[in-house]
Symmetry: C2
Subunit: 205 residues, 2 copies
């Protein structure tokens, strides 16, 4: 696809964009959404205030664009050869990402920002839609191996494995460990093998 | 158990306590934790400011005490005669409680407050510990009926059925309907029947 010269990866506009969005993510992790200002992002990024305001205009817009950065990485679903182990890897990555000091601040602030700004909620939705898409191969490969039956809904399986981890973190506030992730992955793998995730109407609505 | 005269249910101290805590819940639902002040709670409740400050001293303390009110109700787990239907009732109640306008504001503000104040997080933890305890009969009765095997962990089953609902609401931001609750209840019931929730070490840690 042809793009204009200034938009190409590594070009100046692109470097400015990345500087601003990474500064936004840093400040989101450090201060949270309610303390984030366009001026602070400009200062942190070294990009002139008027440039930042012209393109993003508000903290909401900055955070939304910054969260969408997450869909530009090269993350791929684990491929261990077993559906239970793939699901365990997914759940354990969530545990690590949301509990390890120095790592957990940004994802936690992102989940919180979605309560506080509709644009952030929309961006978080977009991020997880993208992750759901990238995790489909886990179930598709399990079907091909004959581990789970045809028609198993790959996204519902992902929700089933991530849900209890997030429930412990942000609802029941019990905390979570990789052992908890293993319990969940095992239960979801059993349910998937038994065909519990087949024939689901509109699961992606 | 003997209690002092002023502490008895319906006594004056008790009426004051309930007026203050219900005013706290109203304001939490209307404004959220970050806008909640002790003065506003005093005004809304009609209880004198000094009385409120003397007993609760901070918004954190008020919110924590108000969230603990939830453990004083007479909520009991559904008892439909089938583990899948019991789990569906639980999940559908969460869907209703967190999506219906006029109903969703308080529970949503409570989940949000837990991100913002450690005392609120602790109170939310206490609330869900209490709910977990009250939901144990769902699995205990299913074991007695022979629907699920002995040793099935009742709390892990609850996490499995509530988790995906909360994941849709507050993480992937996809929204959720009673149909989504049915999918989850069915999958968890299958996994439970197959023994996927047995032999779980320290599930309540």
């Amino acid at each position: 696809m042809a793009t204009s010269g200034t938009q190409r990866p590594g070009g100046r506009t692109e470097r400015t964009r990345l500087a601003v969005l990474h500064a936004t993510l840093d400040l989101l992790a450090e201060r949270g959404f309610s303390e984030l200002t366009v001026d602070a992002v400009a200062e942190r990024s070294g990009v002139h205030k008027t440039t930042v305001y012209r393109r993003w205009s508000s903290p909401d817009g900055l955070v939304a664009a910054a969260l969408r950065l997450g869909t530009e990485d090269d993350w791929a679903a684990p491929d261990t050869g077993s559906v239970e182990d793939d699901l365990y890897e997914v759940a354990a990555e969530v545990v690590r990402y949301f509990t390890e000091p120095g790592l957990k601040e940004l994802p936690t602030a992102s989940v919180l920002a979605a309560f506080q700004a509709p644009q952030a909620a929309e961006a978080l939705y977009g991020f997880y839609q993208d992750r759901h898409e990238r995790m489909k191969p886990i179930v598709e490969r399990a079907i091909a191996r004959g581990e789970v039956p045809e028609g198993t809904d790959p996204v519902e399986v992902v929700r089933a494995v991530c849900g209890p981890v997030f429930y412990r973190l942000f609802v029941s506030r019990e905390g979570v460990t990789p052992a908890g992730a293993r319990v969940t992955a095992r239960a979801v793998a059993v349910a998937a093998r038994e065909g519990a995730f087949r024939g689901i109407p509109h699961s992606e609505d």
